[in-house]
Structure formats: C-alpha cells, structure tokens
Subunit: 344 residues, 2 copies
C-alpha cells in the first residue's frame, strides 16, 4: 500500500511559490511577508501538512525521538516510569521508542545498537540482569551518544543517573521486620553483580547489624533473572524452607521476586505472615488487594522517569559537551500492610 502525504513541494506548487518560501513561512521567518505567511499557513493547515520526520532527521542530524531500554514493559515499575518519560518527552516535542530486553544481554546490545544508529537522539536505560559488561553502553557514550541511566544504574558510566535510595529502602524494610518481632530474616535478591542488588543487600545487612542480628549466609538467595522466571524463585524458596533453622521473615528485593514469592506461598499453601512474613519491592498498584495485603517498598517510578528524561533532553540539547553529572537519588516509600504484621 502507498500513502502519499503532503509535502512542501505540493504547497509550493499550489500557491505558485518556491519551496524555500514555503519552508520559511511555515517556520515563521522574519523575511517573509505577513501576507504570504498567512496564505501558506492557512493552506498547510487545510491539507493538514506535517513535515516529514525522515527528511528532518536527515537534514538536522537529529530525530527528535529518544529510546527507552528496559527489561519488560509488563513490569509495573517500568510502565509507570515510561508514563513519566512520555509525559516529559511529548511536552518537549520528542517521540519515544521503547525497546525490551527481557533481561537478555544480547537483546540489550542489539537494542542499543539499533537505537543509537541514528534512530534516536539519546537513550534512557535500565540495564538487564544479565548485563555485567557495559562496553556497549560505555562505547556509545564515549562516542557522544547521550545516555541516562535510571533505576538499575551503571557505576562505571560517567553520565547522569537517576535511582532511588536502594540502601535506605532495604534498610527501612528490614528494620520494619525486625521491629515487628522477626529475627530470622532471609533476603531474596536479583543477580549478584547488579548495583541495586548490592545496595539493597547492604541496606539489609546494615539493618541487621544495627539491631545486633548476625547475617546468615544461608538466608541469602540470588535469582539470575531477577525473578522473571518462576522456577528460579521456587528453587530459592525451596532451599530456604529446607534449612534446619527456617527463616521467619523475608525481604524480597525486586518486583518480580515479590510477586513470585507470593505465588509460591499461595501454591504451597504457606501462611503469610504466620509461617513467614514478607515485605518486598513492588510497584504494582493492587498489592493491597493481595491475600494477605502486601507490605511493600514502593519506588516513585513516574517521578524517576520524568527526572531522567529532563536530564537526557538537557544533555541532547546542550551546545557543549556535558561534563558535570547528576546522580539524583529519590526516597523510596515503605507501605506496611498485613504481610509483615507484628509477630505473635
């Protein structure tokens, strides 16, 4: 099928003007008479003229679009963040292209390659769990391709970053469990080398230490795919519950880890919080409707998306190379519900 849209040429021909005059009239240039301007503007509006983005992109060496690389949009945290990103981007005249990695390293590299090769003017990224080599990002970035990290931040990258205080979120969540009377607290983590995994683990450990509870290595479980795959969560919890001294509470340090933990308990009929209490990271907006209602650490996802986009667009539109980088750290929110009730 072919779809012929209106071009400047069409307008020029119809109005017996040159294309350059039309172009100038459309961008309200001072060199064009008011009369001609009105004529062109009116006609363009009638035909519903829109400049061809490909032509503009070719000419201006920019596409006025930005890319987002996330693990999966079906994750509530990311879909909320994307809403924030879109709101800012559209306000500033940018289009948004979303790419998913599904936690797969090769897909992430391919997506970045594709996006950077002039499809977009810059990129927001939350790296996949599989990613522990950041060459594909660093390399592009060094060559001048603007990148802003959010959520899962890459330490080795010198650019703007937006994240939450993962240490604090984990610290507060763990402290809450301790204050509710739990002492044998396990932690279910995403993959080991991810920055947020480490930060959350450190917050967890610090909370234990501050309350004179020693950290038990057996109570720490990693999931390579960040809980995206149910089986990895199942295996981890199975192991925890086979221990001689079983944990009486757990802190799940990621969205999918949390929901899959809930699924596990439902399937195996494990009572929460009687058998095991839980608080975990989650941005689902129906956690209060779960059985039992779920205590969560919630991230300001929409806000993060907005801020990250502001930073990215500023970088893209900056005349000179940016050398001063922000690392914005937002506070998480702890919402206590039934799943981490005071121990009887």
């Amino acid at each position: 099928m072919k779809f012929e849209a209106v071009t400047i040429k069409d307008i020029a021909k119809a109005l017996a003007l040159s294309t350059s005059t039309v172009s100038r009239a459309l961008r309200d240039s001072y060199e064009i008479s008011e009369e001609t301007k009105q004529l062109v503007l009116k006609y363009a509006k009638e035909l519903n003229y829109r400049p061809n983005p490909s032509a503009l992109g070719l000419k201006e060496k920019r596409t006025r679009s930005i890319g987002i690389v996330v693990s999966e949009i079906a994750n509530s945290f990311f879909s909320q963040a994307i809403n924030g990103i879109e709101s800012v981007a559209h306000n500033r005249g940018y289009n948004v292209i979303i790419a998913q990695t599904l936690e797969n390293y090769e897909r992430e590299v391919a997506n970045m390659q594709f996006l950077s090769s002039r499809s977009v003017d810059g990129c927001l990224i939350s790296v996949s769990t599989e990613t522990n080599d950041f060459f594909h990002i660093n390399d592009l970035y060094r060559k001048g391709f603007p990148v802003v990290c959010f959520d899962r931040v890459v330490d080795s990258l010198e650019t703007h970053k937006v994240s939450i205080d993962n240490f604090l979120g984990a610290y507060d969540a763990t402290t809450h469990l301790i204050k509710s009377g739990y002492k044998k607290i396990a932690i279910l983590s995403s993959i080991e080398y991810l920055s947020i995994t480490k930060e959350r683990l450190n917050g967890f450990k610090k909370a234990l230490a501050d309350h004179n509870i020693s950290f038990n290595e057996d109570y720490l479980k990693y999931c390579a795919h960040g809980g995206l795959v149910y089986e990895e969560v199942e295996k981890a919890i199975d192991e925890l519950l086979k221990l001689k001294v079983k944990p009486d509470a757990i802190f799940t340090s990621g969205d999918k880890l949390t929901t899959n933990f809930m699924r596990y308990c439902k399937t195996k009929k494990i009572a929460i919080p009687d058998k095991i209490a839980v608080i975990g990271f989650s941005n689902l907006d129906i956690t209060e409707l779960l059985s039992p209602s779920l205590s969560v650490v919630r991230q300001p996802a929409y806000e993060m998306g907005k801020i990250a986009t502001e930073l990215l667009l500023n970088m893209i539109e900056s005349k000179r190379p940016v050398t001063d980088f922000d690392h914005i750290v937002l506070p998480p929110e702890i919402i206590v519900r039934d799943s981490s009730l005071r121990k009887k």
Copy 2:
C-alpha cells in the same frame, strides 16, 4: 552533544571506492566482485556501520516502523499484547513506536496524526473509550494509511480486525454465575457505545435469557473511562448497593473495572463472594493471588498482538491495495476461582 555515526561515504573514502559500490556491496548485489564485497563487508563490520534510518526512510518512503495506539501500557492486557506485537515486528525487521491515549479522544487523534505523517508505515489501534467519532482513523485509512484494529474494534472501518469473542466471554462468565446459584446479577460496563461494551452486554443478556432470568435495567452500570478512574467505579457500585433488591453477583466487563471493583470491596469491607460474587475480564497475571482469588475472563493478549501485527505487515508490504479483510475472532478463556464460588 553530537554523535557522528559511520556513513557509506566514510567507508567509500577509506576504501577508495564510490558510494554506490559500497552501497551495492553492502546489499550483496550481483554486480560487485566477491573481492570488493568482502573488503567492504569486513570494513563495515569493523566500524559497526548501520544505515541511517532517516536517509532510508526518505529514499524508500517507508520507515520500517509501525505504531501502536492503546489507552495505557500499564494495563496488563495491553502490555501483553505489545509483547506479541514486538515479537512479530522485530522478527520482520520493523521497529515499534508506542503511543498512549489514556482514554482521551484528543490524544488519540494527535497520536494518529503524528504516527501517520510518515513516522510509521502503518498502525495498530485499540480505540480509547472516549472515541465515538472515527473520522481520524477512517480518513487516514482511506488515504492509504494501513491500520489494523485489535481488541476494541471499530465496526465502521473496512480493514483487518482482531478481537476476541466478547459475546462468548460474557455469555460464559454470566452462565457460570448463574450455574453457581446466583440470580441477581449486575453488570459493570465500560462506556456505552464501545463495540466491546455492546458485545459483552449482549452476551450477558443472552445468558440471562437462556436461563429465564429477566434483565434488570437497574443492574446495568456504565463507566465513561472504562474504570480507569476509581471514582466512577465507586459511584456505580454505590448505586448498585443502594438498590432495594441488591445484586448478589456482578460481571465486570473490563480489566480496570474488575480491579477497581475489588478495590472497592476491600475498602468498604464487602465480603466476596458471600455478599457479592464476581467474575470479570482481567489479564493481570496475579489474579489468583488476590483475596479472594479472582475468577476471570482472560484474553489471549499476546496472541492477538501477534496476529494483528502479521496482518498489518502483510498489508504494508502488499503490492496491490488490499480489499479482502479478515476479522479474526479468538476465544476467551474462563478461569473459575473463589470469587465466584457456588452460592451457599
């Protein structure tokens, strides 16, 4: 910031060839010697050359990207559908641009305008609840812009459509409630003129009729924003529960209607299914974890996305105008859980 990517010209200069030779070598043209081809290919790979999409788009009058217009990606049905769409699109070398309407008519029109003005080669759309004038779609479509409808299908549009059997889904869900012993069954609907609203309402009515239950107009409530706004659901249920003869069960005919109904009952401490039983449309993958576990009508979202994309790409790539249109209707899946348990 500027990001200079490799062009054909760079390769040509470095290898002392003409740009056309390089171009041909890259596309493996038969007119180029094996030797030159290898040389070019090797060098291009080294520099990680990628053709400039803007230039290609300008030249070929196609962008190799497609648009998706949905109400919101944070809706599990849509994020699953988008996954299906992306899987097919990427396989066939297309990029995907997502636009959200947030159930707003103006945003839908603006999005379609933007996408059609040469940003994308075609578009998948599930119309917003506010949309009851389809001129913006019909007009573009008549001008040769390929559009495929999915989920919320536009009857007046002569093109490919992919939906589920909404009548059947509602019929089966309602029948299930009846067979569980409920007789005073209400229905919570999205906005009135939406095709899926009508189909689901018809299925609902037919199920009642087939079991000799008369349809009670008081038991039918519409929500203008499809349940996106909690307050509209709250108002509707408030009214239902103020009736002299209160319903003992309800069929919620949309994703957000279902979850917001659950939220209502949780907030007002209304026991499900004792006080009121419920089955509703939902594609959330944690409905089994809700309290009580939720009976749902589930749509094959991923599948729908895939099929719709196949149809769209076929249309885009078709040499001659497409005149024969498919309306693919997929079966919904009914999953019975505790929220619609047999009445005691």
